[in-house]
Symmetry: C2
């Protein structure tokens, strides 16, 4: 991929993180990238092509940011791991990604294969991340990681609709102090 395209994608990703993905249209995106709608179509063929490239770009960014978050070492307990992730997703730095994440989910729910693919990529990255940080002695790490990620996404959803207190209930009910 040419440098120019990558640069455009960076700028557009930033725009999407600030203004949302699902109602992004060509002209504002072009403006954010310092170019014209004409050029976007030229480079990406069609708006769907643009969105597809943008989704892959965003997925890669998310995975990268996640990996930069915490060293690759086992956490003392599931509970600690869970709480660390939740705290991180609530960091201002990640707020844009969380919004975009729910945009992706909504589009995927409406049947968009593109968005499902992007979601799959993000999820895979996240599962790997968790597996590497699971406390030692897990019987089925992959499975546990998937279960924990699903719970995290539940909390993320609740956060999104203004029910941040749900996280606490989950922690107490499913991650008891040992």
């Amino acid at each position: 991929m040419s440098d120019k395209k990558t640069q455009m994608l960076d700028a557009m990703a930033a725009h999407v993180l600030a203004h949302g993905l699902n109602n992004a249209s060509l002209r504002p995106l072009a403006k954010a990238a310092g170019t014209s709608d004409r050029m976007l179509i030229y480079h990406f063929g069609t708006k769907n092509g643009l969105i597809e490239a943008l989704l892959m770009h965003l997925a890669a960014q998310m995975t990268f940011g996640l990996n930069a978050l915490l060293p690759e070492a086992p956490m003392p307990s599931r509970r600690a791991l869970f709480e660390t992730v939740i705290a991180a997703t609530r960091n201002e730095m990640f707020a844009g990604y969380m919004r975009v994440w729910h945009d992706i989910v909504a589009a995927a729910a409406q049947g968009s294969a593109t968005h499902k693919a992007a979601a799959g990529q993000i999820i895979d990255g996240f599962v790997d991340w968790i597996v590497k940080r699971l406390p030692e002695g897990e019987a089925a790490p992959e499975r546990t990681a998937r279960a924990i990620l699903t719970m995290i996404d539940g909390v993320l959803l609740m956060d999104a609709v203004g029910h941040a207190e749900m996280a606490e209930a989950v922690t107490e009910a499913f991650f008891p102090l040992e």
Copy 2:
């Protein structure tokens, strides 16, 4: 509320369940309700007013459908309750509501107070529903219900992006057979 408005809302709710909420526009909604965009604005003042009314209508419908799903009696175990709910949300009958749910979440994540309010209503209804069906002898039923609902929403999200297999991981990891 007048009968006419209720009738319109029913028709528009059906349309939204089939075609999505976030990209619904006045003319298609009007067509679905057998009227004109002009009339929708007349009755609801503005599009936001319409969406607000529609959200409340949908929230009520969801709560109603949920209550019709299962008798109001304690389930034998958390696991059974969880599995029953998941199976229900996967029923074709509820597919439209699940799509709309994720639309609501996405809009709420972007900051819409209207959508947050609707989500809150749906969540409250769901928590009540769970509390009434929790196995007997729960120490903190309300808290447990919130925790379970959060997990359900995590699974719902995974279902939406095509990862239905996550439910299994959650069941095994967090609802062990006793």
